[in-house]
Structures are given as structure tokens and as C-alpha cells.
């Protein structure tokens, strides 16, 4: 008398067993897709050296230096330009500073030595001037009062060092501290490649 119910249960049990692999497969695909999304997500890399600007013309940079001289990056074409973003309260920037002093001295002794510029990153002008007066560094210091230069280069954390080739194209970004020797060697290799 209870046969129909038994039959129904058997039928639904069989169809459930048929569906189970497909449901499992669907869940596995969704989980795998989620894993791929998470695994391929951009990780935080504080010393990342990639940039959209690499291989592209440098952003237009027009500002003034601490000694009130006009600075226009596009007018520096023909020279290798090194831009160092700096803040006087940043410990890595302070630690890097002697290396930049040494690098500037090295480049001054070369016929086509690079021009070094410091770009002030969110710091009072007088604080930066005081730091340079006490710790050396006679190269131009460029003001960036509204952060336009930092935004144009995508600089959020300092120090950062960028190299622009004589045709005005951005060729290197270092989002970490550099040393005088490593920067000089890199620049020499770039010169040779540039021809």
C-alpha cells in the first residue's frame, strides 16, 4: 500500500545522486574562480618599480625651486635627469641623502653627468632648506606645493627616484632607497643603451 511513496523516494534518490556531481562541479568551479581572482589580485609591493609612465614621455612639470628659479622639466631635454622625491621627516629619505650627495659629486665629474633634482613631497620649504643646509646637497630643490608633481608621477610614499632620458622619456622608477653606486651604474648602462 505504501508502494507509491517508496517508488517516489527511490526515484528522487536516484535523480539526487545524478544531480550531486553536477552541483559539486558547479561549487568547485565557483570556488576555483574565486581562488583565481584572489590569487591574481595585485599584492601590496611597497618597493614596486613598475609604472604606467615607464617608456612614456615624462609628465609636464613646471614649478619653482627653493631659490625661486623656474623649473620646467621639458626644458631639460638633452640631459639625463634624476628626480628624487624627498621629505625631511622621512627616515629612509634621510638615510638615503648621503648617497645622493655622493651620486651628485660623481655625476659632476662626468662630461654628460645626470642632473639631479629633489622634489619636495608634502613638507614645508624651510624644513627642507634646513635639512640640506645641515647635511649637504647643492642641487636644485623643486617645490610641489599642491602635490601636482607627485600626483603626475603617482608618488604616494617617499623616497622615490625616477630617471628621465635625454629625449624626455621616463625610463626608471625606484620606489625605495637607492645607493650612489647602484644609481651611477644603472645610469651608465642606460647611457650605453641609449647610444
Amino acid at each position: 500500500m505504501s508502494e507509491p511513496v517508496v517508488t517516489e523516494t527511490l526515484v528522487s534518490g536516484r535523480s539526487g545522486r545524478r544531480l550531486a556531481p553536477f552541483i559539486s562541479l558547479g561549487v568547485a568551479i565557483v570556488l576555483a574562480a574565486l581562488f583565481v581572482v584572489l590569487a591574481s589580485g595585485e599584492a601590496e609591493k611597497p618597493d614596486v618599480t613598475s609604472s604606467f609612465l615607464l617608456g612614456r614621455p615624462a609628465p609636464a612639470v613646471i614649478s619653482t625651486t627653493l631659490d625661486e628659479q623656474r623649473f620646467d622639466l621639458s626644458r631639460r631635454k638633452g640631459s639625463w635627469v634624476v628626480l628624487n622625491f624627498f621629505q625631511s621627516t622621512c627616515l629612509p629619505c634621510k638615510a638615503e641623502h648621503p648617497e645622493l650627495v655622493e651620486f651628485a659629486a660623481q655625476q659632476a665629474g662626468i662630461a654628460d653627468g645626470a642632473e639631479l633634482y629633489t622634489v619636495i613631497k608634502d613638507d614645508p620649504d624651510d624644513a627642507v632648506a634646513k635639512w640640506f643646509a645641515e647635511n649637504g646637497g647643492g642641487w636644485p630643490i623643486v617645490k610641489d606645493d599642491d602635490g601636482a608633481i607627485a600626483t603626475a608621477f603617482g608618488v604616494a610614499k617617499v623616497p622615490e627616484t625616477w630617471i628621465v632620458d635625454p629625449s624626455g622619456v621616463v625610463v626608471v622608477r625606484h620606489a625605495t632607497t637607492i645607493t650612489a653606486d647602484s644609481l651611477a651604474v644603472e645610469l651608465q648602462q642606460l647611457r650605453q643603451a641609449y647610444g
Binding site: 528522487s12 565557483v30 581572482v37 604606467f52 608634502d122 600626483t151
Partner: protein, 162 residues
């Protein structure tokens, strides 16, 4: 005509209404915005590049302020769309500044997976409801009726005996 066939127009109507409302909601235009409103809208879609959990709109630090100035400058030029300005900032600071994921490439899975999960859930519930309904609709046959009658009769005899 079965009941399921009879009810299909209501399902189609429901799908059309929901689809229409979604389309209207997605394409809703709140009218022309002022440059200030555009700057605010764009800065709400970007994360502060150096702080956690704050948009460029909310953040008071110098980097966010500089980005707001850049957005205002580009909005003021009038030559670029909101998406182009966001793309400009993203190219320089990386995709980590995007508060709203892109709808292209692998990022589109962020949008597609919840929809896929919703569709699976609705289909699963539909299948489950149909099964439960089929089980509930089992029509008693003569054997069932005899069984019930016998049970009632047995209960009655037991009641008389006690």
C-alpha cells in the same frame, strides 16, 4: 493545460518587470552635475593611496588633497569623462586605488560570481520546491483509502473495547 503552463505569463511578466527596473536603475541619470559634484563623485570612487579604508573624498591627507586638485583640474578642462579621470589616477597609483572594481577582465568576476550564485540559488530552490510539491500532491489511491478506513475502524473498536 497543466498549472505550470498556465502560470508562465506571470513569470514572464515578473522577469520583464524586474529586468526593466534594473535597466532603469542602471541607466538612471540624475541630471547634469556641477563641476563640484563631479569632483566629489569621482573622489568617492577612489581610495586614498596611503591610508586604509578611506576614500579620496573623505581623506584629509596631502596625497588625497593633491588627487582632488588633479581631479578638479581635469573636470575643469571639460574634455574628459569621469572614467577617463579615474583611469588616469589608476594608471599612476595602481588598481589598489579603485574602490569600485572594473567590469572588464578578470575583475569582472567580482560582479559575475554573485549573480551566478544568485541564479544557482534560485534554480536550486525552484527544483526543491517542485519536488516538495510533487510529493505533497500524491493522490491517494484505493489502497490508501482502505488503509485509512481500516485504521479508523481499528481505532473505533479499540475505543469500544475500552
Amino acid at each position: 493545460m497543466t498549472r505550470s503552463l498556465k502560470s508562465w505569463p506571470s513569470w514572464v511578466l515578473l522577469v520583464l518587470v524586474v529586468g526593466g527596473l534594473l535597466a532603469v536603475g542602471a541607466a538612471r541619470d540624475s541630471g547634469p552635475r556641477s563641476p563640484k559634484e563631479r569632483v566629489e563623485d569621482i573622489s568617492r570612487r577612489l581610495a586614498c593611496p596611503i591610508c586604509d579604508g578611506e576614500s579620496v573624498f573623505e581623506s584629509r591627507n596631502a596625497d588625497s588633497q593633491a588627487i582632488r586638485i588633479e581631479i578638479a583640474r581635469q573636470v575643469g578642462s571639460g574634455a574628459v569623462s569621469d572614467d577617463q579621470i579615474i583611469n588616469f589616477i589608476e594608471q599612476r597609483f595602481g588598481s589598489r586605488v579603485l574602490l569600485v572594481p572594473r567590469a572588464t577582465g578578470i575583475d569582472a568576476l567580482v560582479w559575475a560570481l554573485p549573480v551566478a550564485a544568485l541564479v544557482c540559488a534560485v534554480v536550486g530552490l525552484g527544483v526543491a520546491f517542485r519536488r516538495w510539491k510533487a510529493a505533497a500532491d500524491t493522490i491517494p489511491d484505493d489502497a490508501d483509502r482502505e488503509l485509512v478506513a481500516a485504521a479508523i475502524a481499528g481505532d473505533a473498536e479499540a475505543a469500544e473495547g475500552s
